[in-house]
Amino acid sequence: MKPKTSAKPLSKSFYLEAANPPYKLPPPLFDARCRACWFSVGLLLLVLASFVSLDLDWAAFASLEAGRSMYRFMAEFFPPDLSPKFLNKVVLAAWETLAMSALGTIMAAALGLALAVPASRMSQQDAAWLRSPTRWLLNALRAIPELVWAALLLISAGLGPMAGTLALALHTSGVLGRLFAEAMENIPTGPGDALRTQGVGPLRVFAYATLPQVLPQLMSYTLYRWENNIRAAAVLGVVGAGGLGQMLSFNMGLFLMNKTATILGAMLLMVACVDALSFSLRRWLNR
């Protein structure tokens, strides 16, 4: 820190003897050479620009009127419709959701495995011509969310759970295919090389050397995605692709709030059960 009174330039000894020599002072807050500073400024600008450009309707949300309408909206949820007939329907829809997620995940595992083989380099000699095109395909499958797939598939598969199942299968096959390919490239090459030097063909090398090594990993990835897919399948129906989501958007569209409350409760219950189950299963496996 520079004393104000000094007119002449400070001697070198001042910096060495000062109570807080300059090299011990905290660094300046902004420095043109500091990348993290520029990055923070950029981040701040991005956040500010987002809030400014979005014409967010704070007044409608924070005002007393909005609070009242929120309260009215919530009050309409009660009491939830618990008549046996409707509960039966909800249970059926929940089963449909579960079945959609399970079937979608199984198909995705099969398709992902079929795509992961050309997408991975099995050995040093493998030219793997199809590696990058297949990876591009996997990335495209993965980049489009389930809901968008479902909306696209509704056109050819019609309303109902089949479109949802296919949508889950397509998106998940992109995710799983990539994970499977990484897993296959990362295994030790010894067993495969041993078979290959004996002149065993690629199909049998895959079946007897590669697959047995990666199978546990593939199973754990698939189970993990299944857990995700149950959650995704619950909301997939909002565009009309079956399950609890379809019931939710149908009843909400007709302003049948009591029924909506029951369906929301069922959704929460299902997600909570899946969470608890997978948590305890993981704990049990890692014990």
Partner: protein, 284 residues
């Protein structure tokens, strides 16, 4: 058994090759297929429906109009505007989520408890901590799409509903994971500070935060990337952005626009993916 048989038996691959596990494999495969049957029934899974002549015609017509892509100036201006809106919704949502997550994770972290320094935590702090955890879990287990459906009813169509939906769901996720990250690491420095009389906020800022900052930041960046993906989906229920345009174009069977929007969306996701991968590499 005569000795002449032995050399023959030792010849590799001489006899017919036999899979010792053949019958069991067949059994389990059949069993699995039988188990799959009820799933197929429940999901009305009839893939041959896709090949029925009229469905095939509809799909072919829809796919045929995917080409040529629509890229006139007016449409592209709209696409750029909506893409920015998507990114802005994700950014604003994650910012609000942080405002929710940071205080809650500070309340929920066990490491920052003064009474837990000496044995058990006091009763009321423990109750508070448990309540905060439960709130976070509830917030995060309601999918953002459901939040968006609810908020569209309350605040009307537009990005406000989307931002609020992302803020609530991601607030729950971030808060829970932050608390887990803060509890997972070495807590020695934090406890030393608190034992010597520093406040809890001081202990957090000078000991707990520096040792976990990289991990926290990289998780936040990852969640921002996820938020971009989900803000597209939120558009489908009327929260603005690319998703809403995609929904409109699909409903009007405008294949060229759908194809352009899908391509833009794939590029956006790839961009967010690589930005977040680069940032996370720079952080670690």
């Amino acid at each position: 058994m005569s000795a002449t048989h032995l050399p023959q038996a030792n010849l590799p691959l001489a006899g017919k090759l036999r899979d010792p596990d053949f019958s069991s494999r067949i059994f389990w495969l059949t069993f699995a297929l039988l188990l799959l049957w009820p799933l197929g029934v429940a999901t009305e899974f009839r893939p041959w429906v896709l090949w029925e002549p009229e469905n095939r015609k509809v799909s072919r017509d829809f796919l045929a109009i995917f080409w040529p892509l629509v890229y006139d100036a007016e449409f592209m201006r709209m696409v750029v505007r909506e893409t920015w809106r998507t990114v802005a919704m994700a950014t604003a949502g994650v910012t609000l989520a942080l405002m929710l997550a940071i205080p809650m994770c500070l309340m929920a972290t066990r490491v920052l408890s003064l009474s837990a320094l000496s044995g058990r935590m006091d009763r009321w702090p423990a109750v508070l901590r448990w309540c905060v955890r439960a709130t976070l879990i509830v917030l995060r287990s309601i999918p953002e799409l459901v939040w968006a459906l609810v908020f569209v009813r309350v605040v009307g169509l537009g990005p406000t509903a989307g931002v609020l939906a992302i803020a609530l769901t991601y607030g729950g996720m971030l808060g829970k994971v932050y608390a887990e990250i803060l509890e997972s690491g070495e807590s020695h420095a934090t406890h030393t500070l608190m034992r010597n009389g520093s406040g809890r906020l001081q202990a957090f800022v000078y000991a707990l935060l520096p040792s976990h900052a990289a991990e926290l930041a990289s998780y936040t960046v990852y969640r921002w990337e996820c938020a971009i993906r989900s803000s597209v989906v939120l558009g489908f229920v009327g929260a603005g952005g690319l998703g809403q345009q995609l929904d409109n174009s699909m409903k009007m069977f405008n294949g060229g626009e759908v194809a352009t929007l899908l391509l833009i969306f794939i590029l956006l996701v790839a961009l967010a993916d690589s930005v977040s991968a680069w940032l996370r590499r720079a952080l670690s």
